[in-house]
């Protein structure tokens, strides 16, 4: 798998994601700076990492979504290349229009930083093939703007089309219908607030995130 991790000014989970990808796929991802207009030839997986791109100016992810590299990411996503956006990456993908809805300030206004149990709602996607539908996994969250909102019709469509990938099993940030992660309509773009890349090593407190990357490796490679 030839993966690429996009780096914006203010990204801070880019190295975590790179380490997880290297461990699981055996190949170092290309780190692509936000000003690059192109992704490396043959890129078959793109990760948009967590952090505080552009200091969260204007809205979380708003500036990053308009940076030069995102044109290339959109083109790749349209060709079917799998794209994952984690935390700030999820915010970037909604701002870029690759995923519906928006991520707003947490309902209680506090930064939430803890491990949360999630239910895997859909095990049919590229990203969740390594899990059983209905299975509970625990991923850490660390965010201030994770409150997922969309209009009721958009939420119904996500539910009806099986595009809710992960759901919080306990109140986390006020998200509509406890949505933690969603897929685009083609199923090759996933955005989620929790951090699977932080739970790939037992020494770091868990390995529930490993299967997400292992599943991808199997389907992509």
């Amino acid at each position: 798998m030839k993966s690429a991790v996009v780096v914006f000014p203010g990204s801070n989970c880019d190295r975590d994601l790179a380490v997880a990808l290297e461990q699981i796929t055996g190949r170092k991802p290309a780190m692509v700076w936000h000003k690059d207009a192109e992704l490396p030839d043959g890129t078959d997986f793109i990760g948009i990492p967590g952090g505080f791109s552009y200091g969260d100016y204007l809205r979380s992810g708003a500036m990053a979504a308009r940076s030069p590299v995102m044109t290339a990411v959109k083109e790749a996503a349209e060709r079917g290349v799998p794209v994952i956006g984690i935390c700030n990456g999820f915010q970037v993908l909604t701002e870029a229009g690759l995923l519906p809805g928006a991520l707003m300030r947490n309902a209680r206004l506090s930064f939430v930083c803890r491990n949360v149990p999630l239910r895997v709602e859909n095990s049919q996607s590229l990203f969740t093939a390594g899990y059983q539908a209905g299975e509970t996994v625990t991923f850490p969250v660390a965010h201030h703007d994770g409150n997922y909102q969309a209009d009721p019709e958009a939420l119904d469509r996500l539910e009806g089309e099986g595009r809710v990938a992960f759901r919080y099993l306990e109140e986390c940030n006020g998200s509509a219908r406890d949505i933690a992660g969603i897929l685009n309509d083609a199923g090759n773009v996933l955005g989620l607030m929790p951090h699977p890349e932080r739970v790939v090593e037992a020494a770091h407190g868990g390995t529930d995130g490993r299967r997400l990357f292992e599943g991808l490796l199997e389907t992509v490679a």
Partner: protein, 79 residues
């Protein structure tokens, strides 16, 4: 030429910030506040002749997230 863009959350979108401000006002003894909605104002210094269409385009493409926000443009006439 200057213009101001007022960005507000759409009706029905939960505004936790507005709620917190409301609570704080009540804490200060202001009991007559029914609701608070927080937004932002962006002031643009523009080349003369910039059209309304251009400013609206700026709002739609960047300044507002129309999934959750409304915007209103106010032109400031300079003397």
């Amino acid at each position: 030429m200057k213009a101001r863009v007022f960005i507000t959350l759409k009706n029905g979108v939960l505004d936790p910030q507005g709620k917190a401000i409301h609570h704080a006002l009540e804490g200060l003894g202001f009991s007559g506040v029914n609701d608070v909605r927080a937004g932002k104002m962006i002031e643009l210094d523009l080349t003369d002749g910039t059209s309304d269409v251009d400013i609206e385009d700026m709002c739609r493409k960047l300044l507002a997230n129309t999934v959750i926000e409304n915007f209103r443009i106010e032109r400031l006439e300079t003397a």
